[in-house]
């Protein structure tokens, strides 16, 4: 089960999945919770400075994959490499050091309730740097202003709306000027304008700071706006991988279906019966074969 700690990955394999100058690689990731397989053989490679989007329906394992990549949860099998090093094979102290270069914006905010919003943002700076307090406050305020929350700096997290909490979480994720940031559904539950501002912020973070970002999202237009590369997950399996253009030109019906957000067509048999019951149609539908 723990072969990932010892076995090295064959070079051809890396070439095959297009891994060159990658910051992060996930290899053969397989995850089980209580014997239930949640992720099944996910491979991906994320290049330095790009925005990598993980798309997929609810419950398909996106958050779980993100937790693996951020060093929070080792997969059942497979390995996660950052800068070519297996992050679950290195000593814990080294992983801690690595974590100070990563930011994580949690799906539900995960702000600390015992302190104000600004203190939440300043917390990592206060704990992990030697900066003077005056600068820390200003850094915190800069980050809050980036997400449009500076007016809420003295509020308690419990007094924020869901969308505000999410934006505060984004501000905290970038507080330390990380090199690699994970966003778990940064714009879910936000209004379209704020969501677009978040997309814009993510793009700016890429161009201004060259931050590598991994973004989990449901929002297909947003995904295609920001992504350099993306992976489409369905039930823990990778359905498609590549640049937005490659995904768009995919012929796989499941991909087309997900991207096109087409609802599955209504079953004519059910509609007919409904019409009959509702009195719209006086004819009882003919019974169909079980396989049709």
């Amino acid at each position: 089960m723990f072969f990932r700690r010892t076995r090295s990955i064959p070079e051809e394999y890396l070439q095959n999945i297009g891994a060159h100058d990658d910051l992060l690689r996930a290899l053969f990731v397989m995850t089980q919770f209580d014997g239930r397989t949640v992720l099944d053989g996910v491979d991906l490679a994320i290049r330095r400075g790009e925005i990598f989007v993980i798309l997929g329906p609810s419950g398909c394992g996106k958050t779980t994959l993100l937790h693996h990549m951020a060093g929070m949860l080792p997969p059942t099998m497979g390995s996660i490499q950052i800068d070519g090093k297996d992050i679950y094979g290195i000593p814990p102290a080294e992983l801690d050091e690595l974590r100070t270069h990563m930011g994580f914006s949690f799906q539900h905010g995960a702000l600390l309730n015992s302190m104000s919003v600004l203190d939440n943002i300043c917390l990592p700076l206060r704990e992990a740097t030697q900066l003077p307090e005056m600068l820390i406050r200003d850094i915190g305020r800069i980050k809050l202003d980036m997400v449009g929350l500076i007016h809420a700096q003295d509020l308690e997290p419990s007094d924020l709306s869901g969308g505000m909490r999410k934006r505060a979480a984004i501000a905290r994720a970038i507080a330390m000027d990380p090199d690699l940031v994970f966003f778990d559904e940064p714009s879910a539950g936000l209004d379209p304008i704020t969501a677009a501002e978040i997309d814009n912020l993510i793009l700016k973070l890429k161009t201004v700071f060259g931050i590598t970002m991994v973004v989990v999202t449901h929002d297909i237009p947003s995904a295609f706006t920001i992504a350099d590369h993306m992976i489409l997950l369905l039930d823990g399996q990778q359905l498609a991988k590549g640049s937005p253009e490659e995904i768009l030109s995919s012929k796989d019906p499941r991909v087309v279906n997900f991207i096109g957000r087409t609802m599955p067509l209504a079953d004519p048999a059910k509609v007919d019966i409904l019409n009959y019951v509702a009195g719209v149609d006086s004819r009882l539908p003919e019974p169909r074969g079980a396989n049709s």
């Binding site: 600068l135 305020r141 980050k143």
Partner: protein, 365 residues
């Protein structure tokens, strides 16, 4: 030095303008603002890489200069720095909101007393409302939820049984010891039995049991309800037309009102047992004589008083804990506050009500 040199101070920012270099620069900028008379200039021409700490320094310098009434100029700004500042509004960053004033000493004292009064009042109102709602519920075609009450009795009663019994036993032992020290002077050793039996049943038993139940069940009820409030579970119940008073509060009040007298009786029995053990082993009293003495000393009224007190205390504890739990605001912090308050307020109320009991009995006699 020429006058123009002191009028304008220029500070050159290094190529790496980040967390490592900024703390030292902060000193320099402060000095510059202190020395400068009209103008200060931040020169960013050399900057190759920067981070938020660098940008925070720029913002800090702008603010400090504005406060000192100096002109400030930023030179050599590159595209990347412009890009950075396109994400924020410098004007917004420069205005700091006013800090909230802290409460003074007297207000602080008020802040200590107020929760007691508030908790007591809310608890009393809640007892009335929830019981009324409960009594009416069969007439409104709603279920009485007897199963829920049984569950509450079990939770409060069974969990506390061991600790109540243990403390009761030890207290009886201690009480007998204390009584004996006094009574043996008069050669009235056998009256240790009376002291323990009456003292425990009328006063100490209900009181101690009340305090234990407040600490155990009161705190847990307040915490559970408070958590439900912040998770919007209580709102959800209300929205579904399930009134929290009837669904959550009434079973807890009734449950504790029934469990506490039982626990009180356990406490008293164990305390008498403790006294008996002391009397028989240390004082050398006859085992049967002690029991006979206890039997004579205790009147039915004493036991009834213990039961009534226990029921009253139980209901009080549940009502206070429920009202404070349902009143939680402000996230997990609020839950913590409500839990502490529930224990403090209900212990205070127990003692207050106990004092009334004593007064009532004295006046009645």
């Amino acid at each position: 030095m020429s006058p123009s040199a002191t009028e304008s101070v220029a500070i050159l920012m290094p190529s790496r303008f980040d967390r490592e270099t900024v703390p030292a620069l902060l000193q320099e900028v402060r000095r510059g603002i202190h020395e400068g008379q009209h103008r200060i200039c931040l020169d960013l021409r050399e900057v190759e890489s920067f981070d938020s700490a660098g940008m925070a320094l720029v913002v800090g310098a702008l603010r400090a200069a504005r406060e000192a009434g100096l002109q400030i100029e930023i030179q050599g700004v590159q595209d990347s720095v412009y890009d950075f500042f396109s994400l924020v509004s410098v004007e917004r960053l420069l205005e700091e909101p006013q800090a909230l004033p802290r409460p003074g000493f007297i207000e602080g004292l008020g802040g200590l007393a107020l929760p007691l009064a508030e908790g007591s009042q809310k608890g009393a109102i809640l007892i009335g409302r929830s019981m009324w709602g409960w009594v009416l519920s069969p007439f409104r075609g709603q279920k009485l939820r007897l199963g829920k009450i049984a569950e509450e009795i079990f939770q409060a009663g069974n969990g506390a049984m061991f600790i109540v019994a243990l403390i009761g036993f030890l207290l009886g032992l201690i009480l007998a010891m204390q009584a004996w020290v006094q009574l043996k002077i008069f050669g009235a050793d056998i009256f240790v039995a009376d002291m323990v039996a009456v003292g425990v049943t009328r006063e100490i038993g209900p009181l101690m049991t009340g305090v234990l139940v407040a600490a155990r069940s009161g705190s847990s009820i307040a915490a559970r309800l408070g958590t439900m409030v912040i998770n919007e579970e209580v709102d959800a119940l209300e929205q579904m037309g399930i009134h929290p008073n009837r669904y959550l509060v009434a079973p807890k009040v009734l449950g504790l009102a029934m469990a506490t007298p039982c626990l009180t009786l356990v406490f008293c029995t164990m305390a008498i047992l403790g006294g008996w053990l002391f009397g028989v082993t240390t004082v050398g009293l006859d085992a049967m004589a002690y029991i006979e003495q206890t039997h004579q000393a205790l009147r039915t009224a004493d036991i009834l008083a213990a039961v009534i007190k226990g029921a009253t205390f139980g209901a009080l504890i549940a009502a206070v804990a429920c009202s404070l739990g349902l009143g939680v605001r402000g996230g997990p912090e609020g839950v913590g506050r409500a839990t502490t308050r529930a224990v403090v307020t209900s212990i205070f109320l127990i003692i207050l009500v106990d004092a009334f009991f004593v007064l009532f009995v004295k006046l009645g006699a």
